[in-house]
Protein backbone atom coordinates (compact mmCIF):
# COMPACT_ATOMS: atom_id res chain seq x y z
CA UNK A 1 0.00 0.00 0.00
CA UNK A 2 1.04 3.61 -0.44
CA UNK A 3 2.94 5.06 2.52
CA UNK A 4 0.68 8.12 2.57
CA UNK A 5 -2.48 6.04 2.86
CA UNK A 6 -0.91 3.91 5.59
CA UNK A 7 0.22 6.96 7.56
CA UNK A 8 -3.28 8.38 7.37
CA UNK A 9 -4.65 5.11 8.73
CA UNK A 10 -2.07 5.09 11.54
CA UNK A 11 -2.84 8.72 12.43
CA UNK A 12 -6.56 8.13 12.77
CA UNK A 13 -6.41 4.63 14.29
CA UNK A 14 -3.12 4.60 16.22
CA UNK A 15 -4.87 5.10 19.56
CA UNK A 16 -6.61 1.74 19.19
CA UNK A 17 -3.32 -0.17 19.33
CA UNK A 18 -0.46 -0.66 21.76
CA UNK A 19 2.28 1.87 21.01
CA UNK A 20 4.87 -0.88 20.55
CA UNK A 21 2.68 -2.49 17.90
CA UNK A 22 2.16 0.60 15.78
CA UNK A 23 5.45 0.33 13.95
CA UNK A 24 4.90 -3.33 13.11
CA UNK A 25 1.37 -2.53 11.90
CA UNK A 26 2.73 0.25 9.68
CA UNK A 27 5.32 -2.07 8.15
CA UNK A 28 2.86 -4.86 7.48
CA UNK A 29 0.35 -2.40 5.99
CA UNK A 30 2.98 -1.07 3.58
CA UNK A 31 3.84 -4.63 2.62
CA UNK A 32 0.14 -5.59 2.27
CA UNK A 33 -1.75 -5.72 -0.97
CA UNK A 34 -4.05 -2.82 -1.97
CA UNK A 35 -7.02 -5.21 -2.08
CA UNK A 36 -7.04 -5.27 1.76
CA UNK A 37 -7.79 -1.53 1.94
CA UNK A 38 -11.61 -1.56 1.49
CA UNK A 39 -11.96 -4.16 4.25
CA UNK A 40 -9.53 -2.30 6.50
CA UNK A 41 -11.15 1.10 6.05
CA UNK A 42 -14.58 -0.13 7.15
CA UNK A 43 -13.40 -2.19 10.13
CA UNK A 44 -14.57 -0.85 13.47
CA UNK A 45 -12.05 -1.04 16.27
CA UNK A 46 -13.03 -0.91 19.93
CA UNK A 47 -12.11 2.34 21.66
CA UNK A 48 -10.16 1.50 24.86
CA UNK A 49 -11.57 4.57 26.69
CA UNK A 50 -15.16 3.57 25.98
CA UNK A 51 -14.49 0.03 27.14
CA UNK A 52 -12.86 1.42 30.32
CA UNK A 53 -16.03 3.36 31.13
CA UNK A 54 -18.15 0.25 30.51
CA UNK A 55 -15.73 -1.72 32.70
CA UNK A 56 -16.04 0.74 35.57
CA UNK A 57 -19.83 0.75 35.55
CA UNK A 58 -20.75 -2.72 34.27
CA UNK A 59 -17.55 -4.71 34.70
CA UNK A 60 -19.19 -6.90 37.33
CA UNK A 61 -21.61 -8.20 34.73
CA UNK A 62 -18.78 -8.94 32.31
CA UNK A 63 -20.17 -6.57 29.68
CA UNK A 64 -16.69 -5.09 29.01
CA UNK A 65 -15.37 -8.54 28.13
CA UNK A 66 -18.40 -9.31 25.95
CA UNK A 67 -17.86 -6.05 24.06
CA UNK A 68 -14.26 -6.78 23.12
CA UNK A 69 -15.17 -10.31 22.04
CA UNK A 70 -13.93 -12.29 25.05
CA UNK A 71 -17.30 -14.02 25.40
CA UNK A 72 -16.03 -16.89 27.54
CA UNK A 73 -14.36 -14.60 30.06
CA UNK A 74 -17.47 -12.40 30.03
CA UNK A 75 -19.65 -15.36 31.01
CA UNK A 76 -17.10 -16.21 33.71
CA UNK A 77 -17.24 -12.71 35.09
CA UNK A 78 -21.05 -12.62 35.00
CA UNK A 79 -21.46 -15.96 36.79
CA UNK A 80 -18.94 -15.20 39.52
CA UNK A 81 -20.16 -11.65 40.30
CA UNK A 82 -17.06 -10.16 38.67
CA UNK A 83 -14.77 -12.81 40.16
CA UNK A 84 -15.95 -11.88 43.70
CA UNK A 85 -15.37 -8.26 42.72
CA UNK A 86 -11.61 -8.80 42.52
CA UNK A 87 -11.45 -9.63 38.82
CA UNK A 88 -13.74 -6.69 38.05
CA UNK A 89 -11.34 -4.45 39.96
CA UNK A 90 -8.24 -5.85 38.22
CA UNK A 91 -9.96 -5.41 34.86
CA UNK A 92 -10.30 -1.66 35.45
CA UNK A 93 -6.55 -1.57 34.92
CA UNK A 94 -6.21 -4.43 32.42
CA UNK A 95 -9.14 -3.83 30.08
CA UNK A 96 -7.56 -1.03 28.03
CA UNK A 97 -4.56 -3.09 27.03
CA UNK A 98 -6.78 -6.16 26.52
CA UNK A 99 -8.90 -4.06 24.13
CA UNK A 100 -5.83 -2.93 22.20
CA UNK A 101 -4.62 -6.53 21.97
CA UNK A 102 -8.02 -7.58 20.61
CA UNK A 103 -7.83 -4.78 18.02
CA UNK A 104 -4.40 -6.08 17.06
CA UNK A 105 -5.84 -9.58 16.59
CA UNK A 106 -8.57 -8.08 14.40
CA UNK A 107 -6.12 -6.27 12.12
CA UNK A 108 -3.93 -9.37 11.93
CA UNK A 109 -6.95 -11.37 10.76
CA UNK A 110 -7.61 -8.85 7.99
CA UNK A 111 -4.00 -8.73 6.87
CA UNK A 112 -3.33 -12.44 7.38
Amino acid sequence: MEAQKVDMFIMSNGKYFESHHVNAIRNSLIAADDSKWPMLSVTQFNDPSTILIVSIFAGQLGIDRFMIGDTGLGVGKLLTCGGLGIWALIDWFMIQSATREKNMEKIQQILG
Binding site: Q60, L61, G72, T80, G85, A98
Partner: protein, 138 residues
Protein backbone atom coordinates in the same frame (compact mmCIF):
# COMPACT_ATOMS: atom_id res chain seq x y z
CA UNK B 1 -1.59 -11.44 25.04
CA UNK B 2 -3.94 -13.73 23.14
CA UNK B 3 -5.60 -16.37 25.26
CA UNK B 4 -3.50 -19.52 24.92
CA UNK B 5 -4.48 -22.92 26.28
CA UNK B 6 -2.00 -22.62 29.17
CA UNK B 7 -3.32 -19.21 30.18
CA UNK B 8 -6.91 -20.45 30.04
CA UNK B 9 -6.08 -23.50 32.17
CA UNK B 10 -4.24 -21.39 34.76
CA UNK B 11 -7.14 -18.93 34.81
CA UNK B 12 -9.80 -21.62 35.26
CA UNK B 13 -7.71 -23.48 37.87
CA UNK B 14 -7.17 -20.23 39.82
CA UNK B 15 -10.85 -19.34 39.57
CA UNK B 16 -11.87 -22.80 40.81
CA UNK B 17 -9.42 -22.74 43.74
CA UNK B 18 -10.56 -19.24 44.75
CA UNK B 19 -14.14 -20.54 44.41
CA UNK B 20 -13.46 -23.51 46.70
CA UNK B 21 -11.64 -21.21 49.14
CA UNK B 22 -14.60 -18.82 49.13
CA UNK B 23 -17.01 -21.74 49.68
CA UNK B 24 -14.90 -23.01 52.62
CA UNK B 25 -14.76 -19.47 54.03
CA UNK B 26 -18.55 -19.28 53.92
CA UNK B 27 -19.26 -22.77 55.26
CA UNK B 28 -16.61 -22.89 57.97
CA UNK B 29 -17.84 -21.82 61.40
CA UNK B 30 -14.49 -20.38 62.42
CA UNK B 31 -15.17 -17.33 60.26
CA UNK B 32 -18.58 -16.42 61.68
CA UNK B 33 -17.20 -13.05 62.80
CA UNK B 34 -16.93 -12.18 59.11
CA UNK B 35 -20.49 -13.22 58.27
CA UNK B 36 -21.26 -9.68 57.13
CA UNK B 37 -18.32 -9.67 54.73
CA UNK B 38 -19.74 -9.12 51.24
CA UNK B 39 -17.94 -8.64 47.95
CA UNK B 40 -20.67 -7.61 45.51
CA UNK B 41 -19.94 -4.01 44.48
CA UNK B 42 -23.34 -3.52 42.85
CA UNK B 43 -25.23 -4.60 45.97
CA UNK B 44 -23.01 -2.56 48.29
CA UNK B 45 -23.39 0.59 46.20
CA UNK B 46 -26.99 0.40 45.02
CA UNK B 47 -28.58 -2.07 47.50
CA UNK B 48 -30.01 -3.86 44.44
CA UNK B 49 -28.85 -7.48 44.03
CA UNK B 50 -26.85 -8.28 40.88
CA UNK B 51 -27.74 -11.18 38.52
CA UNK B 52 -25.33 -13.52 40.28
CA UNK B 53 -26.18 -12.55 43.87
CA UNK B 54 -27.13 -15.63 45.87
CA UNK B 55 -24.84 -17.97 43.96
CA UNK B 56 -22.75 -18.72 47.07
CA UNK B 57 -25.87 -19.40 49.13
CA UNK B 58 -27.16 -21.62 46.31
CA UNK B 59 -23.95 -23.64 46.12
CA UNK B 60 -23.97 -24.05 49.92
CA UNK B 61 -27.55 -25.40 49.67
CA UNK B 62 -26.34 -27.81 46.98
CA UNK B 63 -23.57 -29.12 49.24
CA UNK B 64 -26.28 -29.89 51.81
CA UNK B 65 -28.32 -31.66 49.13
CA UNK B 66 -31.11 -29.09 48.87
CA UNK B 67 -31.35 -28.94 45.08
CA UNK B 68 -34.64 -27.04 44.92
CA UNK B 69 -33.43 -24.48 47.46
CA UNK B 70 -30.40 -23.87 45.27
CA UNK B 71 -32.56 -23.32 42.18
CA UNK B 72 -34.83 -21.01 44.15
CA UNK B 73 -31.91 -18.96 45.55
CA UNK B 74 -30.22 -18.56 42.17
CA UNK B 75 -30.26 -20.97 39.20
CA UNK B 76 -26.72 -19.77 38.38
CA UNK B 77 -25.52 -21.75 41.41
CA UNK B 78 -26.21 -25.09 39.69
CA UNK B 79 -24.23 -23.92 36.66
CA UNK B 80 -21.34 -22.66 38.80
CA UNK B 81 -21.29 -25.86 40.89
CA UNK B 82 -21.22 -27.97 37.70
CA UNK B 83 -18.32 -25.92 36.31
CA UNK B 84 -16.47 -26.12 39.64
CA UNK B 85 -16.76 -29.92 39.63
CA UNK B 86 -16.16 -30.61 35.93
CA UNK B 87 -13.45 -28.03 35.07
CA UNK B 88 -10.69 -29.23 37.49
CA UNK B 89 -11.21 -32.87 36.42
CA UNK B 90 -11.13 -31.87 32.75
CA UNK B 91 -7.95 -29.82 33.26
CA UNK B 92 -6.19 -32.69 35.08
CA UNK B 93 -7.21 -35.14 32.34
CA UNK B 94 -5.96 -32.75 29.63
CA UNK B 95 -2.65 -32.18 31.44
CA UNK B 96 -2.11 -35.91 31.99
CA UNK B 97 -2.98 -36.81 28.39
CA UNK B 98 -1.14 -33.73 27.05
CA UNK B 99 -4.17 -32.66 25.02
CA UNK B 100 -6.08 -29.37 24.75
CA UNK B 101 -9.66 -30.62 24.50
CA UNK B 102 -10.97 -28.11 27.08
CA UNK B 103 -9.37 -25.22 25.20
CA UNK B 104 -10.93 -26.33 21.92
CA UNK B 105 -14.28 -26.82 23.63
CA UNK B 106 -13.99 -23.30 25.09
CA UNK B 107 -13.22 -21.79 21.67
CA UNK B 108 -16.08 -23.68 20.01
CA UNK B 109 -18.50 -22.69 22.80
CA UNK B 110 -17.44 -19.05 22.43
CA UNK B 111 -18.24 -19.14 18.71
CA UNK B 112 -21.64 -20.78 19.25
CA UNK B 113 -22.70 -18.58 22.15
CA UNK B 114 -22.08 -15.34 20.24
CA UNK B 115 -24.61 -16.21 17.51
CA UNK B 116 -27.64 -13.90 17.93
CA UNK B 117 -30.07 -16.86 17.89
CA UNK B 118 -28.43 -18.18 21.05
CA UNK B 119 -27.07 -14.98 22.59
CA UNK B 120 -30.41 -13.10 22.70
CA UNK B 121 -32.37 -15.83 24.57
CA UNK B 122 -29.46 -16.17 27.00
CA UNK B 123 -29.38 -12.41 27.65
CA UNK B 124 -33.16 -12.46 28.20
CA UNK B 125 -32.76 -15.37 30.65
CA UNK B 126 -30.06 -13.48 32.58
CA UNK B 127 -32.27 -10.38 32.72
CA UNK B 128 -35.28 -12.43 33.87
CA UNK B 129 -33.09 -14.00 36.54
CA UNK B 130 -31.98 -10.54 37.59
CA UNK B 131 -35.59 -9.36 37.87
CA UNK B 132 -36.39 -12.50 39.89
CA UNK B 133 -33.39 -11.75 42.16
CA UNK B 134 -34.64 -8.22 42.79
CA UNK B 135 -38.18 -9.50 43.42
CA UNK B 136 -36.87 -12.09 45.89
CA UNK B 137 -34.82 -9.38 47.59
CA UNK B 138 -31.68 -11.50 47.89
Amino acid sequence: MALTSNKLYVLIATACSVGYGWLFFNISESFTDFSNFRVCLIKEVTRIPCPSCGTTRGVISLTKGHFLDAIYTNPFSVLVAAIMIIAPIWIVLDVVKKKTTLFHFYQRAEKIIIKPKIAIPLIVLVLLNWIWNIAKGL
